[in-house]
Structure formats: C-alpha cells, structure tokens
C-alpha cells in the first residue's frame, strides 16, 4: 500500500514539475509586453507585466527545481500534462489583465481611449477575474473572442500582450518549452509533443523538430509583418506610420497564429477599405497551411509540394469555392450591403479560424450562418497549422471513407480494397483504424458543439435565436473567434465558463481534456471488464 501511495504522489509531482517548466517560459515571455509598455510610456501596464512575470517565475522555479521525481511521464500523463498545463497557462496568463485593471487609475486608463471616441476604457472589465481568464484563454487558444468591447482603449501594452499570447499559443506552449528548455529525454519530449499537436517529426529528434517549427513560425510571422506594413503603406498612404507598424505587428502575430485579436475597434473593417480587406486574406491563408508543409518547401526545397500536398491544395480550393457559395447565399438573402466583399473575407476568416470580423453576423440569414458553421468553422484549416476546427484532412478522410465504403459493395467480398489517401496506400485494416479514430474525434467534437449550443440557447439574452447560439458555440469550440454578439462582458458566468472550456478543449483536440476528466473522476487505474 505504501508503494501505491508513494507512486500516486509521485504522479502529481511529475505533472507539477512539467507545469513548472511551462510557467518559467511564460514568466520570461512577459518581458516583451513589458518593453512595449515602456516604449509607449504605459508605466502601470509595465508594472503589471513585471509583477505577473515575477509571480510566474517564482512559481515556476519553485515547482520545477523544488520537486524531485524519478518517474518519467507515460502516455496518459502526457495528455494530463497537456490539459492541466494549458489551464495553468491560461490562469497565469490572466494575471496581467487583473493586475493592470486594478492598478491603473481611471484618468490614465481614459487616456488610452482614441481621441474623439465617446466611450469609457474597456480595461476595467478585467477587474472581474473570470473576464480576465476568458481573455487569456481566448488568446492562448488563438480564438479571438474578446471581453474588451473597445480594444484600443486597453492600452498598447495589453494590446500587444493579447496578440503575443496568440503567437505563443498558436504553435503551442509545450512545443515552445521543449524548444527552449530542451531538458526532457527523447521519449518524454515525443509524448508531450504528440499530446499538444497533431505533430509530425521534421527531424529525428523532437527537440530539433520543435526548434525548426518555431524558427519557421517566427519567420512566417515576420514575412506577414513586412507584407502588411508595405501593403498598408501603399493602400493607405495617409495612415500614421507608427500606427501602421503597431497594427501590422499585432495583426501579423494574430494572423499567423490564426488568432484574430485586433488592435482596432471594428477589427479589419476599421480601415474602411476594400483593398485592405483583400490585403489581409493572404496572412490568414498562410496561417492555415501546415508548418510541416512549409518545412518541406523551405528547408527541403520540395516546391512540388505546392500542388502535391493534399492539405494545402484542399485549403486553397475550399477557400475559393466556399467564398463564392457564401457570397451567393448572402446575395440571395439580401440583408448585407456588400455580399461578395463580406462573403469572401468572412468565409476565409472562418475557415482559417482566424476570426477577424467585418460584418454583423447577427443580421445574417440562417442559411448563410449554418453554411459558414458547417463548411468553414467546423472544418478548419490544415492539421499541423495553428488552426482550430476538426482540420480539413479529417474531413477529407471521412469523405474518402464514405466513398470507399460505398465502392466496396461493387467489389467481390474477398477483394482487398486499398484506399489511396495523401500519397499513402492504406489497407482496409489501416483505413478502418484511421476512420475509427477520426470518426470518434469528429463525433465528440460535434457533441461538444451541440452541448455548447444548448447551454448558449438557455443562457443567451433575448433577441438571439438558435442559429446565433450554434454560431457562437462553434466559434468558441473551433477557436475561430467570430461573434454574433452573444460574447460580451454582460454574458452569464455559466456561459462564459462553458466557452472557456470549449476553447480549451477545442485547442487540445478534446481527447486530453477527456483523459483529464477521467483521471479526476476515476483515477488512473485501467478499467477491466
């Protein structure tokens, strides 16, 4: 008995030690928003980041160095670490919001509000810790739903921090920790890497894989930044250069991570320019393509991947077709002034799960809402990218499986029908296994959206309908971030918690969350029947 207890205790120690590692990295990353706050002379915000960073570091180091454990994580532990790790990141990541909201005097906060805008600073919504947690979770999971009603009014420091959390959360905090600390043994690293993302090995060692992923990711973000600065300068020559640079750097981070936080009041629509909306399509699509694909193209110089890579091809085709269909549906409904401009931007924003909004979805007809939910928000971009949703490759596999199943009736029963999928030839057994895995995931994903929709339906304010509930729930679950107006600081706390759970589960692809629930309810013993 003594041994079992000892072992149990050690499991917790091991998990907390890993979480400590994550906290250390989080603490250090607070330096960047701190610097931005100093540049803009926002000293209260700077203090807030300094304090939050300090708390994270102290906690992180005491857990990481204080706990001694001899056990290495097993597969189930890796999933538990991913699930709890992400909660801990969201909780600690909420600290700057809470601290800054509480220490910033009202006159200072009012200075953040753009001149001529007749509203109060949104920063004080974060005095409520639940709102802060929501914002933090929305940031790290790259969702983009926000409690800051008027984003510009929370100060440059916090604006930068919001976009920065999306950048960090996009590829994944665990991947970042692996890349920076590089301490774990290969086996542990592999388990953790696999638990967080639908990972693919790019090089023999996971640590180097994590590092190459981060290099690529930062490189792509810098590319988007340059592209946006130059593009904005050409399209809107009168726009202030410092605002241009600040906006572009934030939007580049939000686009590459497919997060969708914006520094502007009405997101990309604030530019009031058709050309600007077209300019922003490319960074979103770049964010929805898988990082291993970029690795093959940039590192291995396999340019044929552009048309050979199944996911890349289908993301681009889906963008083109879906935009046209959505535009057509909006045109038919006649409720939107610019159906094509809206249709194209919103479909791509939803499919890539970025979530920049240029239209009031609440006004849309039910048909268009259901279409964008089913064809874009649930589907999502490429696996291996920073997108949410079920990932386009899984949808393709399910379709392939369906055709395979129907075709098999035309073969004799002894014949072995191979499926060709994504350059691989899958045997019936392999295909069945793959299908079972994907179908289970998609099924639980839809159940989560369904539950979220029901909860939203019973807690949302008057004036909204079931299509709004479906849209909002799918948006949180798919880490999209488009909103029809249900998400705001006045929403019911129950619904807010529901969305926090949906974002968290959606980012981790649900299974780690279920493993955690199972551990809490039934412990780690296998169930034998």
């Amino acid at each position: 008995m003594r041994f079992i207890q000892h072992y149990k205790f050690d499991t917790f120690k091991m998990i907390f030690k890993q979480i400590g590692g994550l906290q250390i990295i989080l603490g250090f990353t607070m330096v960047f928003p701190l610097l931005v706050s100093l540049i803009y002379s926002e000293f209260y915000s700077a203090t807030g980041f300094f304090l939050s960073g300090l708390i994270c570091l102290v906690m992180g180091f005491s857990l990481y160095k204080g706990l001694r454990t001899f056990y290495e994580p097993l597969n189930r532990h890796a999933l538990i670490i991913a699930a709890t790790g992400w909660i801990s990141i969201a909780v600690m990541g909420a600290l700057p919001f809470i601290i800054i909201a509480n220490i910033t005097p009202i006159e200072i906060a009012q200075q953040f509000v753009p001149a001529g805008a007749g509203y109060n600073s949104s920063i004080f919504f974060f005095k409520n810790p639940l709102h802060a947690l929501f914002e933090s979770m929305s940031g790290f999971t790259t969702t983009g739903l926000s409690m800051a009603v008027h984003p510009p009014s929370i100060g440059k420091g916090l604006l930068f921090y919001r976009s920065f959390t999306q950048l960090l959360g996009g590829v994944g905090f665990i991947v970042l920790t692996l890349a920076l600390l590089g301490q774990s043994s290969g086996k542990v690293a592999y388990l953790l890497y696999g638990a967080e993302s639908t990972g693919e090995r790019l090089s023999p060692s996971i640590i180097t894989t994590a590092r190459s992923i981060w290099k690529l990711y930062i490189g792509l973000t810098l590319f988007s930044f340059t592209y946006l600065v130059i593009g904005t300068y050409i399209i809107l020559p009168g726009y202030s250069l410092s605002e241009n640079i600040f906006g572009s750097i934030n939007h580049a981070m939000a686009a590459q991570s497919t997060g969708g936080f914006s520094t502007l009041d009405n997101s990309i629509a604030s530019y009031h320019s058709n050309a600007m909306e077209m300019l922003y399509l490319l960074p979103m699509i770049l964010g929805a393509l898988s990082l291993p694909f970029y690795f093959r193209v940039i590192h291995d110089k396999q340019f044929s991947q552009f048309w050979k890579n199944l996911q890349t091809r289908s993301v681009i085709i889906t963008c083109a077709l879906g935009s046209v269909v959505l535009s057509g549906m909006l045109l038919k409904s006649g409720v939107i002034p610019d159906p094509f401009r809206t249709g194209i931007f919103q479909f791509i924003s939803a499919l890539t799960t970025t979530g920049w909004q240029t239209s009031n979805v609440h006004l849309w007809d039910s048909g268009s809402v259901v279409f964008i939910v089913m064809a874009a928000m649930i589907v999502g971009g490429a696996a291996g990218a920073t997108v949410g949703g079920v990932k386009i490759i899984r949808v393709l596999l399910l379709f392939k499986g369906l055709f395979w199943h129907i075709n098999s009736y035309f073969y004799s029963e002894n014949s072995i029908n191979v499926v060709k999928f994504n350059e691989a030839r899958l045997l019936p057994d392999e295909m069945n296994k793959e299908l079972a895995r994907v179908a289970t995931f998609v099924f639980i994903y839809l159940i989560f959206i369904f539950l979220g929709t029901i909860i939203t339906y019973y807690t949302m304010p008057h004036g909204f309908t079931i299509k709004d509930a479906l849209f909002e729930s799918a948006s949180a679950q798919g880490t999209v971030g488009l909103s029809c107006g249900i998400t705001n600081p006045d929403m019911s706390p129950g619904l807010e918690i529901t969305y926090i759970i949906q974002m968290w589960a959606g980012r981790l692809e649900i299974i780690p969350v279920l493993v955690l629930f199972r551990t809490i309810l039934l412990g780690t013993k296998p169930k034998v029947v």
Partner: protein
Amino acid sequence: MKIIIAGDGEVGFYLSTLLAKEYADITLIDTQREKLSSVEKKLGIATVLGDSTSYSVLKGAGIEHADLLIAVTSVESINIATCLIGKKLGAKFTIARINNMEYLVNKDTLDLHSLGIDELISPESLASREVKYNLKSPELTEIFNLYKKDLYVMGLRLGDDNPAVHNTIAESTRILSDNSFIIVAVYRDGKTIIPNGNLKLLKDDLLYFVSTEAGKDKVLEYAGKKSVQIKNILVIGGSRTGKYIAMRLSKEYNIKLIEKDYEKCNYLAKNIPNVQIVCGDGTDVNLFEEERIADYDAVISVTGNSETNIFTCLLAKEFGVKKTIAMVENIGLFEYSQKMGIDTLINKKMAAANFIFRHILKERVLTQLYGVDAVIQQFVVKKNSKIINKPIKELNFPEDALISGVIRNGNGFITLGNFQLMADDEVFVFSLPQSNKKVISFFK
C-alpha cells in the same frame, strides 16, 4: 572454362545440368550436404560444402581460376556478397541473382559493375517479361527474339479450322511465302521433328517458326488464327513472379490478382497500384464463379505449385478463357500440360538459364525451348568454307537439322532452300541432339 555456381536450388541445379553438357569444369557450392551428394550422383560435377560468402569455401572451389561465378541462392544479399568477394578473389565474370526490382531499375545508382558484379539476373522478373511479350501476341504459345528486332522464334498450335492441316509444308507455304518465315520444328505426340517440305501437318501440331519482323503477321495469317485482344487478366498466385507480372502489366491491362495468404495480400495491396487484390484459394471453383473468371481474356497461374497452376489453367479453359499461361517449374510436366491444352508455359529456371546462355555466355548453344528437344545453335561461316556460294538445298545438310536464319551485315534474313551463304554470315541452326556432332563438323 571454369564455372562456379553458388546455390543448389532449382535455378542452380538446372543451370548446372545445362552447363555440364557444354563445359567440363563446373563446381557447385551449397550448405546442404544431402543436396550436394545427390547432385554428384546425377551430374558428376564437383561440389564444395559450405557458405559461399566464406573465403576458404570460395578458394576451395578454385575461385582464383574461375571464368564465371554464378550466385543463385534464394537469398539476395548472399548472392551479392558472394559476387563481391568472388570478384576480389579473382573470378573473371560474376552474375548475381536478385529479387529486388530496385537493383534492376536503378542499375546506375550503385554502379554495380565497378563494385564487382557484372550482371544481375532475376528469374522472376525474366519470367514476367516473357509473359508480357507473349500477351502482345496471345495467339502464339511462345515468342522471343533471336537477333535484335530482326529475327523472332515463334511457337504456334494448329487448330481444327486451319487451312494448312492435312497439307504438306511445301504445299501450304507456297501461297504465302516471300522469304519472311520458315517452319523450323514440329512437335507432335511428345516428339520433335525437324521438318522438310514433305512433312504433312496435322491438327494439334505445335509449330515453331523463325520469322523476320515483317513475317510475324504472315505467320499468324498462315496459321489462320483470329487475332485475340487481351484486356482483362486474372493472375493467380501472389509470389514474387505474380507480383512482377502484376507490376509490369498493370499499365496496359486490367488486372486482378488472387492470393491465398492474407498477409501477402495486404503486402501486395499496399505496394502495387492499379491492381485489384483478392484473397482466396486459386483452386476453388466457387471463387472462380464469384470472381467471374469467364469475363477474363487471360488467366496466368503462377502459384508455387506447378500442379495447381496446370489445374487452374485447365479450369479456366473450361470456363472459356481464351488464353492461359501456367508457370510449371517441374520440367517433367511440360509434355502433359502442353498436350492437355494449356496455351503457354513459363518456367523461371529456364528463363534464367536461357538469359544466361543467350545474353551473357553468347556461346554456340543459344536456347532451350519449352518441352522441345531441339536446340538453337549459332555458327559463323568461315572464309574458306566449302558451303559458301551454293544454294542451301544442295549442301547435303544433316538430317534433323535446319539452317533457319542468317545475320548478314547486321540484318536478319530467313534462309529457304535457294539461299546462298557467304563468308562471315552468322547462322542459326535448329537441330535435334543426335545430329549435333554432324552439324558442328559441318561448320568446321
């Protein structure tokens, strides 16, 4: 000429048998004592017991003076290692049997020649190539080229409806003859006849022709065969031969492959594109009905068991399949299977041996035909020979032998009775074994 053969498997034994007729100094290496002692009894050649990748074993076999080292064990890596070591120890020419298509396709990548392997053979691949050629003209039982694309040997069975039946060769060929083909052998009731113009042809005779490229169609016309188009093929047996056949043919034909072993089915399904794999027993009549065997134009049976292959092909004939090809490894079964009406036989050992004779040794004896005693020999006409500048029919050439073709200045010609030989002509002679000596002395 000293020859060392490593590996006393089917191919190794068959090669030893053939080579032993021509060359005196042959050594066979194998790891199994019983096998070697039976070879010694049957063929009377030297044997060495041991692993062919060992220095001492190779030295014991006399590798320093070997002109030719043929490694034909069933394990590819042993064959390659044997050749590499043998070459270093002094073998002049090395041949390795391989199973992996990779080596054949990417020959240049490794530059095997500089490593010490002069030639690669893959019996399975050669057999599948024979099948491919044969399916191009499915009316024939056999076809291969004797000299580049100029001279072909073709085999063909006479059916009921043939106008030539009950006529003599001279009568029947007159209508068509323009020096484009010649009948060189007739196989009837288990006996091979080298014909002269007076031989009367009968139903079910198996005729062998030598023809030029232009004569190929004439042969078919002569035999009155309706041309058959092959589109759908059923392959039975997923061994290496079956796999190569499926891979080679899948571009041009619709192929279904039946294999008994489930694991093997999975392996094939995973690795061969555009071929439908069916898991089932190739001797099961119900399966044939289920898979609609009657819809297929050709059935190729290549399981590891010769009897199964023969049986399957007979069954397919019964269902109305136009073309049947059976892999028969047991040479003793050739006569019966041909008699029973299987269209074409293939044999991995003979494919390998013929390849070695025809393309590597380039010696006098060129090739063996399936089930037929006649051999094809090649001679060069000497300058001062008494046989030049006379029509062939006046040469008093030995009985049971026939001059059938000539290469002159790089072109192939058919040699009918009025043809006159010239110096430096390369002559192909069809002959039965008993007249071999006379033929050889004729060209001295």
